[in-house]
Every structure is written in structure tokens, then in C-alpha cells.
Symmetry: D2
Subunit: 102 residues, 4 copies
């Protein structure tokens, strides 16, 4: 089962700056060899279900290892059986319908 997720990992109890933890998650995702796109409020990741979810677990492990006593993650998960869709296609399917100014 192919999956596209959007994930935002928030460490709690490490102060105001969370970018080191988010960068560590980017490293985990990158090392897994999965397609991904960082945006200003999370990261899109796509791939086989088990591989993607293993990365999510590894992110929690790594962020705890960095000293965060608590993590709250927000995630969206998209699967479809009618066809496989990739990250860039999802964006393209919308922009193709959007007037130029956007």
C-alpha cells in the first residue's frame, strides 16, 4: 500500500526553538531514501506504508534521544486504490486548475 503523509513533529519541553529536532527528522527521512518535500509547517513523505511508518517511529526515537521528554506529532495519511499518485502530481493537479496569479 503506497502512502503519502504530511508530518509535523513537535518536541515539547525543549524550549522555543524546535528547528534542530525538525532538522534531525529531515535527516532520518532523507536517509530512508523516501521522496519528501519540506514546507513551512511539516514535511510531505511518500513511499510504501511500512517504510514510511518506520520513518515516523524513527523520528520519535531520534527526537527523544536528543532530549525531548515529550513529542506531539500531527500527521495526515493518504492512500488510494484507484491509482498511485506522487507528491508532484498532487501539486500539479491543483495548479493546473488555478489561475496564473497564484
Amino acid at each position: 500500500m503506497h502512502v503519502i503523509i504530511d508530518i509535523c513533529v513537535v518536541p515539547i519541553g525543549v524550549g522555543v526553538s524546535v528547528s534542530p529536532h525538525v532538522a534531525a527528522c529531515q535527516k532520518v527521512i532523507g536517509e530512508a531514501g523516501l521522496e519528501h518535500r519540506l514546507h513551512a509547517y511539516g514535511t510531505n513523505v511518500e513511499g510504501p506504508w511500512d517504510e514510511v511508518m518506520a520513518v515516523v517511529k524513527r523520528c520519535h526515537e531520534v527526537v527523544h534521544d536528543m532530549g525531548a521528554p515529550r513529542i506531539t506529532t500531527t500527521m495526515k495519511i493518504s492512500t488510494r486504490t484507484d491509482r498511485v499518485q506522487h507528491l508532484d502530481e498532487k501539486v500539479a493537479s491543483v495548479t493546473a486548475r488555478t489561475p496564473e496569479r497564484d
Copy 2:
């Protein structure tokens, strides 16, 4: 790693009523023997990481099997290393601080 999640599975392409699909997910969660609480916009589930995530995957499989060509799930994931916390404690920690009228 103990985890508390909040999950809301939304089948797309099955019409306006999604309660049969949500009920099927409740059945999956119940059969897994995990602590869970249904609310009006999702379900809290707690347990060991791998068991909880196996249930999430099973929900997607079951809802696709019911005919939904597309699913979008929203999920929050909470882990902590300072102590294990259970569903009812999380609610109690807030209500203990809330005036009676609420």
C-alpha cells in the same frame, strides 16, 4: 514506546455518510484489544507503538475493502519518555484544573 494517538479516518468517494466506515475502524480497534475512546471527531487509542500503528494500517485496509477508493486520515501522535500516561489521566489532569461549570 508507549503511544497515545487521536485518529480520524475519512473515506473519500463513498458519498456523504461515512459512519459505516468509522464503525468498521472502531471494530478493528476494539478487536486489537487496545484502550480507546470514541469522540465526535475521532478516536483516542493507546498502547505499544507497533500495535497501535498496525491498527491504523488495518483501518486503511478495511476501509478500502469496503469500497472506498481514497482515504485521508488525520492523526496526532503523543509519546513521552518522562512517564507513561494513560487516556483517562490526560483528561483528569485538565479537569482537575477546570472550574466546575465546565
Copy 3:
């Protein structure tokens, strides 16, 4: 436009315990006179769109006033034009379809 939301306000930079801030939000929601249900990973609130969103804004203001320099909130928003649905009906529509064990 009637709306049902699920809201989870997470203060960042205030340490590990966030229950005082969540309790303050419960107070804001309760004082607004809106139907609401606390669960282990958020709160369901229903009412007219503008009233509900005013409460969301007030929660951010109050939590900042308590000293949180940063907040990340996760929210789901449900509207429908086919009929008005209330919090307890949403739960009932699922439990009516769920075997007794759940």
C-alpha cells in the same frame, strides 16, 4: 454556518506540563457558552462559525498571556449543508453501528 471543530492547543516553550494552558482554554470555551466535550487529545466544540472561531482566537491570546511564547494548534473543522449535526449525534451514528464489545 454551523461548525463542529476538534481543537488541540499546544504551548511551546513552557516546559513539559501543558495542562494549565489546556485548562485555561477549557475555561474560555466554557465561558463562551458553546457545547464542548474534552477528550484525551483535544476538545470538540460546536456552534456558529464566528463564535467558535472567536473562541479559538481567544485561546491563543490567553495562552500567550500565560507566558507561552509560541503555540501550535491542531484543528479539524466540519461543516455540512445537508443538515445540522450535533456532537452527540456524531458519536451515536457510529456507536449504533458498532458491536457491543466496543
Copy 4:
């Protein structure tokens, strides 16, 4: 109060393809003159709280007007009092800490 949101509007009861509705929301956001970035699982928007939330409401109105009887939106909301942060800075604060391969 300056806010950054991530919003994903999901129409229910309109079939499998939701890109026309997402494109309509992009148009609403673009016409409001707010900074925004589309990604594969939502859109980042930033601006003054009331302007951003007015856009969220307008998206629901427009998608209902297109015939969707039901909408479920997932949204994250970030505010901070320590400093104003913009969309591209949030991405840059992470990528500056991420090894080249990502």
C-alpha cells in the same frame, strides 16, 4: 496577532477527485493577497489572524457553493509572541541545519 496556518480542505460527497475544490480554495487565498505556498497535502498561509481566518471561512463557503454537502478541514495554527516569523524563514531555519543530501 500574526499567524501561520497549514490548511487542507477536504470536500466529502463529491466523488474521488477533489482538485477542483482545492483549486477554488487556492483562488480564494490568492485573491485575499496573503502569502501562501501550496504543497502536496495542504497550503501554508500567513498573515494577520482575522484576515487568515476570513479566508478559511470563505473556502468553506465556496466549496459548499460548488456542491459539496460536507467538508472536513485539517488545519494547524502557529502564533508566537517572541518574534514574527515568515513562511520562507521557517523552511530556511530547518534546511540550514540539514546535511546537503536533503
